[in-house]
């Protein structure tokens, strides 16, 4: 019997793979989702409500029921990183698509905001995004559930920022503030990034794939780590080859179309491993993750005040970019998230001065006032920031280790210095005692590595994530973004995935693949 040939084989089941699988299945397309990890039971596999003192080593294990560790690097498990994300969901603004035209640095996108706007709306309508209608050009409004009220600390920051002419808005998150889609509303237990045990926070399994399993169009191939994508004489890819995570047995699944949606760095690693899509020589290049700064402070009006239950769903407010409209000595911009840690960790206590009863009092007084200001900057591409395979080192599956080379170029350094300086200024205007100002940028959301573009000599894929070199090989994720924006990117990944789904349905209907 000949092996089954699926219409579309998707590698990875996170925000991109899950969105794509659901949209294709809904249109009647036969999909196989190949996931490197096991099924995650949302309700029982996370330690959402864990406290450190419930565990003998005072460390809350990420997973229960002997599930393998999840981490944000190579997350393997159904739902991928969407299980652990913080759910911040911005639309990119019109300027984010034309960075080169505006600044002369980096790249323009082959599409504009207008091309993606309808797809942002599709995602908002089907996953549920809460937020306020703010009427900002750079942070376009969408279809929102009511926002969660701001915390007292956010209101203090909002007032401080207002003194400097800066606007602080409600955060927008793919977390339900009202029961919808059969999922309950958030109950504000304050531990979103440990995995939401009720799926009030969107994840791609509960939010996209699971409701469509009954169509019978989605086949899950779990615990299967893809290491190769063979191609035929016509330069078309034909299948994915995988190793079973547990048994190490090898296998193959055939498809008319292959989509790599295994997250930015892994997608790039897979293209490099398989030797695909690299006629431009740009696979691995243009790696430009977000970088974060950070200022820790104590808000004076809250020092010594009674402790309240204000963990909420972590950050409730946001400082949108404003520097893109002002005179500055760098390209691009930055924005800031606030306080997305919860109050379960008091790691800062040890850094306060003193000892004895006075020390404990100082910690206790500052406990309700602790605040972390976390600005995010947009990195611009440079030749020293790239993803490569290690020529020697192999992981436990025998696959090459992936090396992320990162260099903070002059523009990155200028943004970092400016965002740190202005973060301190806003905190001071809000009446804060500055505790610690981070000295070095830290990489965050991974972007770039096989970017989209019109010119096949300078880019790897088109705006649908289709590789310029192979007509039936696609990739979705951070790796295809030609510029990072300073905005959290997942909403854009999902909008792009929904757009690609419609494109694939059309191609399959026409018999093009």
């Amino acid at each position: 019997m000949a092996a089954k040939i699926y219409d579309v084989v998707i590698v990875g089941s996170g925000a991109c793979g899950g969105t794509l699988a659901a949209h294709l299945a809904r249109a009647g397309v036969e999909v196989c989702v190949v996931e490197g990890g096991p099924k995650i039971e949302t309700r029982t596999d996370f330690n959402t409500h864990g406290m450190p003192f419930e565990f003998p080593n005072r460390v809350i294990p990420k997973m229960r029921n002997n599930k393998p560790g999840f981490d944000t690097e190579r997350t393997r498990g159904l739902g991928g990183k969407s299980m652990l994300w913080n759910a911040v969901a911005w639309r990119f603004g019109p300027r984010d698509f034309e960075g080169y035209t505006r600044d002369g640095v980096g790249y323009d996108w082959p599409i504009g905001y207008g091309d993606l706007a309808p797809w942002y709306e599709v995602i908002e309508r089907e996953v549920g995004v809460c937020g306020n209608l703010d009427g900002l050009e750079d942070l376009p409004d969408g279809i929102f559930l009511p926002p969660a009220p701001m915390k007292c600390s956010d209101i203090l920051i909002q007032r401080g920022a207002a003194k400097l002419g800066r606007k602080v808005i409600h955060v927008r998150k793919a977390t339900l503030t009202r029961a919808k889609f059969g999922r309950p509303a958030c109950h504000y237990c304050g531990n979103c990034m440990a995995g939401c045990d009720v799926a009030a926070k969107y994840n791609s399994w509960d939010g996209h794939m699971r409701p469509l399993m009954k169509t019978g169009k989605i086949t899950l191939q779990l615990d299967s780590i893809v290491y190769d994508v063979p191609k035929n004489a016509e330069n078309k890819v034909t299948a994915v080859r995988f190793i079973n995570r547990v048994t190490k047995a090898e296998g193959e699944i055939k498809g008319k179309v292959i989509v790599l949606a295994a997250a930015c760095v892994q997608n790039v690693a897979l293209l490099l491993q398989a030797g695909l899509a690299n006629s431009s020589g740009r696979v691995g290049k243009d790696f430009m993750p977000h970088f974060t700064g950070g200022v820790e402070a104590f808000l004076k009006p809250l020092i010594g005040k009674p402790v309240t239950n204000d963990e909420g769903f972590l950050d409730h407010a946001y400082l949108p970019s404003f520097m893109h409209k002002e005179k500055r000595d760098y390209a691009r911009s930055w924005g800031a998230q606030f306080n997305y840690q919860n109050r379960r960790s008091v790691g800062w206590a040890r850094t306060l001065p003193g000892m004895g009863a006075d020390f404990v009092k100082a910690v206790k007084d500052r406990y309700p006032a602790y605040f972390v200001f976390s600005p995010y900057g947009e990195k611009t591409p440079d030749e020293r920031s790239y993803i490569a395979l290690d020529p020697e080192k192999k992981d436990k599956y025998g696959l090459p280790e992936v090396k992320k080379n990162l260099y903070w170029n002059e523009n990155d350094r200028k943004i970092f210095a400016d965002m740190q300086r202005q973060s301190v200024a806003i905190l001071e205007a809000a009446g804060a005692e500055i505790h610690q100002v981070y000295k070095e940028p830290k990489p965050n959301h991974e972007i770039g590595g096989s970017i989209m573009g019109k010119d096949p000599r300078k880019s790897v894929v088109d705006s649908f994530g289709r590789t310029h070199d192979h007509t039936n090989l696609y990739t979705l994720g951070g790796n295809i973004l030609p510029s990072a924006s300073e905005k959290n990117p997942t909403h854009t990944f999902m909008a792009l995935s929904a757009r690609t789904a419609a494109h694939l349905v059309e191609r399959l209907r026409k018999g093009e693949v």
Binding site: R58, D197, R350, M355
Partner: protein
């Protein structure tokens, strides 16, 4: 008048039904879901730290005493066991603690009264606060303070009873902030 109200209500009913069907067509949600059964178990009393294996009995007593002088309450939360847990995996910490314990021993720390013990530690605290961490005893103090704080504020006694942690609950709505303006 009454008729208009009726029509309005009917319209609304129809809209509601269309709305529901729309959602179900888009995402035929399985009716068997168990989200409603979410049971929020409040955090337990806490479990003890593992039995210390690295430090000797008398060293543990000294460490608990030092910790308690830096973070009152730390000894009751048995922070020495936390120090043991951290140190046994880290040769660097082991050296720091060994040197610190020898330094205290040489000065007769365990036979001192409280004022004398504080008198011995206070200058170390002041130096460390100024960022002056050169001598073995200063390094020891910094490590002891860090672990005393970490160990205590991750205990139920420290986090819940002392700091008054209120989170990890089930709220039907996030409460609006009321800032006392006047």
């Amino acid at each position: 008048m009454a008729d208009e109200v009726m029509v309005d209500q009917e319209k609304r009913e129809t809209l509601k039904i269309i709305g529901t069907i729309g959602v179900q067509c888009a995402f035929p949600f399985a009716g068997d879901e168990l989200w409603g059964q979410h049971v929020h178990v409040p955090p337990g009393k806490g479990v003890g730290l593992p039995k210390p294996t690295h430090f000797a009995e008398k060293d543990l007593a000294t460490l608990n005493r030092v910790a308690d002088l830096i973070v009152p309450g730390a000894a009751a939360a048995d922070v020495a066991a936390y120090m043991d847990l951290v140190a046994k995996r880290n040769p660097e910490h082991q050296k720091t603690f060994r040197e610190g314990l020898e330094w205290l021993e040489a000065r007769g720390f365990s036979k001192m009264n409280e004022a004398e013990q504080v008198g011995l530690l206070r200058p170390l605290c002041e130096a460390v606060d100024k960022g002056e961490i050169k001598s073995a005893e200063q390094r020891f103090f910094r490590a002891a303070k860090s672990m005393a704080a970490d160990g205590f504020f991750t205990s139920r006694e420290g986090l819940v009873n002392t700091l008054g942690y209120q989170g990890n609950q089930v709220l039907s709505e996030f409460p609006e902030c009321v800032i006392d303006e006047h």
